[in-house]
């Protein structure tokens, strides 16, 4: 146990000393991961590509939560609400107003940014568990709001809305799944780079200052109220884009898709991936997509219990999630190099 504690301590040190490294991957590793993400679909079946697309957009949603919690230290159990808004905005624009899908995503992002920013205003007065509760209320309310009668004309009510999957443009000979994967990959990469830069910027440092000590931050001249709501807005906006991508990939939106369970899954993904470590978001997303399937493979009746045991093992063995594994790996590689 002491070894693990050491690792954690070293990890924490890294956060304070060199925030850039701690938040992201090294250049070499990034390139390898990027190459893998580009190459793998060329050799995979459509179903696998679809799962990888899922991995990307859920990873994006986890990343959004990571900016909020890992960056500014605020909790949210309401991410499913913003995800749902993003998905519905995209689906309604695509199906009811025939807007091209790539234009729907920015709109979804901006609308969700607005929604998150507004929700951030009253939420400011709350902190810790109370904020978690307030966002929880948002998540439970969302499916019911989506069923509202006066919106039914657009949303299709409980029946949901079927979305048409876009074909590859410019006459590319590429399956719809593969095109959507690369499209998603580009969007996710853009947002990832944006997020990394955001956290390295003045605003990012302000977020982290608030996270570490709110009073000290305000004493240093950080506008705590503004940056807290800003973090909420940015997180909600990115979540909205992720939701929009999910609507296009799944080809369907219904109120049942955006329940509190989704919010909890995203939260879980963040913890498993490592709070505050952006690349971990994808690993966290992989956990929430694939581990339930594995658990089901082990026992259908007890899949929930098996999932619980696996989750417990992860939390017990590597409490800092994938980030801790990465640090361990790095140290191991360093030691090998020395030898």
């Amino acid at each position: 146990m002491s070894a693990a504690e050491e690792v954690v301590a070293e990890g924490n040190e890294a956060v304070e000393a060199v925030p850039k490294r701690a938040m992201t991957l090294g250049t070499g590793t990034s390139l390898v991961v990027l190459l893998l993400l580009i190459a793998v679909p060329l050799f995979a079946k459509n179903f696998v590509i679809f799962q990888l697309t899922q991995l990307l957009y859920l990873g994006l949603a986890v990343l959004a939560l990571n900016i909020l919690t890992g960056g500014s230290g605020q909790f949210s159990l309401g991410q499913s609400a913003f995800y749902g808004i993003g998905a519905y905005v995209t689906a309604v624009m695509m199906e009811q107003f025939n807007v091209p899908y790539f234009l729907c995503l920015p709109v979804a992002g901006v609308l969700c940014f607005g929604a998150g920013f507004l929700f951030g205003q009253p939420a400011l007065r709350l902190s810790g568990v109370y904020l978690a509760l307030a966002t929880f209320a948002l998540a439970t309310a969302m499916p019911q709001l989506l069923k509202l009668n006066f919106l039914e004309h657009w949303t299709g009510g409980v029946q949901g809305l079927v979305v048409t999957k876009p074909d590859a443009p410019f006459g590319l000979k590429m399956s719809q799944d593969m095109w959507l994967y690369y499209f998603t990959l580009v969007v996710v990469l853009m947002i990832y780079v944006f997020s990394v830069n955001l956290l390295r910027s003045r605003s990012g440092r302000a977020f982290m200052a608030i996270r570490d000590n709110e009073i000290a931050a305000s004493a240093m001249g950080v506008n705590v109220a503004l940056y807290k709501t800003l973090a909420f807005g940015v997180s909600a906006g990115i979540t909205g884009v992720a939701g929009g991508l999910s609507a296009i990939a799944v080809q369907f939106v219904a109120p049942d898709s955006f329940t509190i369970t989704l919010a909890i899954q995203l939260f879980l993904g963040m913890v498993v991936g490592g709070v505050g470590w952006l690349p971990g978001s994808i690993i966290g997303a992989a956990f929430i997509i694939f581990v339930p399937n594995i658990a089901e493979g082990i026992s259908k009746g007890l899949s929930g219990a098996v999932f619980g045991v696996l989750l417990f093992l992860v939390i017990y063995l590597v409490p800092h999630g994938a980030r801790q594994v990465a640090i361990l790996g790095q140290q191991l590689a360093g030691r090998l190099r020395k030898n």
């Binding site: 079946k45 696998v48 019911q144 009668n149 799944v250 080809q251 049942d256 369970t261 594995i294 899949s303």
Partner: protein
Amino acid sequence: MAVVRFQVAALSAAFALCTAMSNPALAQKAYDSGASDTEIKIGNIMPYSGPASAYAVIGKAEEAYFNKVNAEGGINGRKIKFISYDDAYSPPKTVEQARKLVESDNVLLIFGSLGTSTNGAIRKYMNEKKVPQLFVASGASKWNDPKQYPWTMGWQPSYASEARIYAKYIMKEKPDAKIGVLFQNDDFGKDYLKGLKDGLGAKAAMIVLEEPYDTSEPAVDEHVVKLKASGADVFLSITTPKFAAQAIKKAAEINWHPVHIISNVSASVGGVIEPAGLEISQGILSASYTKDGSDPQWNADDGMKKFYNFLAQYDAKANKLDAGVVFGYAAAQTMVKVLQMCGDNLTRDNVMKQAASLRDFEPDTLLPGIKINTAPDNFAPIEQLQMMRFKGKAWELFGDIISSDLGH
């Protein structure tokens, strides 16, 4: 984890290649992926976890039934491989599981998946891929749309058919009735209300008040008071169990005694009638299409004897009181019937063709006289129900089997 996926993918790709190569040798037999000389692969998606997991017994009963068929030699010598996945009642997960079944497990068809929005999520995909989505376990009437969705078919009577049957009953027994309707304000309630109006046809003016409620409301009391005030003498309660019980209680409390009809969804004795009170529930009407596993009147019934034997032999843990078990048994039996009719021509085309040509098929656990009939323009297998009245401690069937066809 990803590595495991790829191995599976590679394996199944290799498998698909093998089956593709062995096909030309068997000219007189026709197969699509998922069927072979020895095996028929059937996919299924059920909420084994999550809010609707109470329905998972349906999937378990179906699996047990297919085990029984396999133990007895299979279908024309072919064993059924039933692959059932969990979607936790979440539509995006349903899409993932359906794609896994079709593209990775290479099933011949998907059978009996549960839920309205979950099946709605995969309907377009299934029809694009031309893979049968058979006997959907949901009461929405939208599964009967062979023109737009020729690869999707329902099974149970739709909410609309049930409502049409009540309309027929009311017009026959109480032609001057004033009908007050309490309905749940969602797809379930609206489907129902539409069915009622279709059934009443020109006499739709018999409805004096349509009173919606939302599932988010804690109680429906004030709606019941309003309905009484409207002067209605027939009370049609299109409600889910909790609200059905509340409505029964409130009507008794305000001393309102109309002809009270509750939807089949809420006809559970243990879940609705008993909590509301046996005494005040006497004479309530509803309709049914399955035999009740707890009803002693079926003890001597041949179909139910087979059902009880099946439970004892293949699914000892199942609760025979659970309507889901009776449902799953009958649905699986229908599926087996269709596959038997397919003979050696196990293409997806032929499966749909045979599913759309069921004639007077009577599964063991449906009420005597209820027959499954389908046609290329009729994808609603069960369209008959029988009225029942609550008496003493149980439902008592009465009258003839009523068909929901308009104009009969």
